[in-house]
């Protein structure tokens, strides 16, 4: 989408009036905005994370690594492990569910595809807080599922479906599933139909065609989507906070408490930097995976 116009525009640019140095007048506002309101805060937080926190405030005179060492304390380590576990489970579910959905989508007519994609996108554009509220109506002790099971006489005590890791997985999956589905769907649509046809004329059964032609060819897209999905799971805040409750804390919720309740900004900054480094690492891996396509 971006490559074709670039090559086409290059010779034309030489013909027309050049923008020259004036280009910086156009780029200026965005650069100033991002430098002042984006890079500066991130940089400041990174700096703060290397300073000690004292009762009288941040001691900017001393440089320490202690805030990072605290990340591997038993408590924070267990939170990190829980966050990783929940994130991996969501990613595995997303990957498992993505093929049946993408294959079905690719088989619909153009109009059907547009509408089905919009429906699958709805968890992305509907506010997280609203969705989480909806999940509490379904999963809570007096929610749809527990009330239904109770009125059928199947259970006496409510089944715990939220305020635990199950709730986080159920609530986050629909919104983040999309980021595996969309690249996979695009890859499936871009697949040369002749390849599958060729495999079939050579005697492959539909199952074999899927496993030995379709899956290998769409694997890079799936992998790239899975990594994006994973980083989003790691960093999600509102849904885990509402559906995990105070007992099932994930990394981002701890970051909220440390920064807004304990007001320990150096340690809160270290949490932010750690989250950023992990996320960027995975995103770069995803981009490398996408390039090999």
């Amino acid at each position: 989408m971006t490559t074709a116009p670039v090559t086409a525009a290059a010779p034309r640019a030489a013909l027309g009036a050049r923008l020259g140095g004036g280009v910086w007048l156009f780029l200026g506002p965005a650069i100033v905005l991002m430098a002042a309101a984006y890079l500066a805060p991130l940089f400041d937080t990174a700096v703060i994370s290397f300073h000690p926190n004292t009762p009288s405030g941040i001691d900017r005179g001393h440089w320490i690594l202690g805030n990072y060492a605290r990340l591997i304390d038993d408590y924070y380590w267990s939170v990190l492990v829980r966050t990783l576990r929940v994130s991996v489970i969501i990613t595995l579910f997303s990957v498992a569910l993505a093929y049946p959905v993408a294959v079905w989508l690719a088989g619909l007519g153009p109009r059907g595809q547009t509408w089905a994609i919009l429906v699958y996108m709805s968890p992305w554009f509907v506010n997280t807080v609203v969705k989480s509220f909806g999940w509490t109506l379904i999963l809570g002790n007096n929610g749809l599922i527990n009330n239904g099971l109770r009125s059928l006489g199947l259970i006496d005590a409510p089944v715990r479906l939220m305020l635990n890791e199950t709730g986080i997985v159920i609530g986050l999956l629909p919104g983040h599933f999309l980021f595996v589905l969309l690249p996979l769907w695009a890859a499936l649509k871009g697949l040369d139909g002749n390849l599958r046809w060729a495999a079939m004329t050579l005697g492959a059964r539909p199952r074999q065609v899927f496993l030995r032609v379709t899956v290998p060819l769409t694997l890079p897209a799936l992998l790239a989507g899975a990594i994006i999905n994973f980083t989003m799971n790691m960093a999600a805040f509102a849904a885990p906070a509402l559906l995990g409750g105070t007992r099932t804390r994930v990394l981002s919720f701890i970051a909220y408490q440390v920064n807004l309740e304990e007001l320990n900004w150096p340690f809160g900054g270290a949490l932010a930097v750690a989250l950023l480094v992990v996320t960027l690492g995975f995103v770069m891996a995803a981009q490398a995976a996408a390039r090999t396509r």
Partner: protein
Amino acid sequence: MRRLLTGFNLLMIAYVVAPIVLVVWMSFTPSMRFEVPLGAFSLRWYRELFSYDAFIDSAILSLRLGLVAALVATAVGFLAAYGVVRGRPPGSGALVALFTAPLIVPAVVYGIAVLQFTNLVGLYGSFTALLLAHVVIVLPFAMRTLQATLEGHGPELEWAAMSLGARRRHAVLLVTVPLCLRGMVSAFLFCFLISFSEVTVTLFMTGPAHQTLPVRIFNYVSDRIDPTMAAVSSLIVLVSVALVLVLNRLGALGNLRK
């Protein structure tokens, strides 16, 4: 096989839309408790909404913030996209990466950074800080949309205008902007949608003075379940769905899928 897939997808769609449907459903239930077999239909909770001053204030704040942030981001984003697409200055790849970085950097990280930084520079809890953060968050969506728009409209008409004696700024204002109007409207609506739904950064950076609608609901839902909340939430869903349908009509959602 196809039938099996369709069945699976219907279940999957039910799962995906279930919480949204439930919220809307609950907002029309007359009783205080949410009951499964829906007997009657009531607009009681929508009427009650208007007695919650806090929600009215939050709604006004969210609208004001979303409109101004979308306006600023569309303007700044248009200029930047124009510079990148028409100028191709050295390092434009890195610049685009910078302008779209908020898509990749987790909102929690930026929320923490903005909280700490606004305190440092004395802007904590101000509308200015909130506005700037929202412009940063929505800028990637303006950039993506407007880059695609500008690539779709070649520079030939601008050159024609300039060869007839127009200055660059007149050519951009009188030729390019009208040509790109559809893309600008898409960018504006997209930015508004994102700002209107933003929770995480806003929750981290705002004091009690500036609670946007989603933040107000977040703080409220943590303590109790109340059908009024369902009414507010349904209105938010209505706004989001309407915006997405318009964006889909304008063909702007494709830019999201890269």
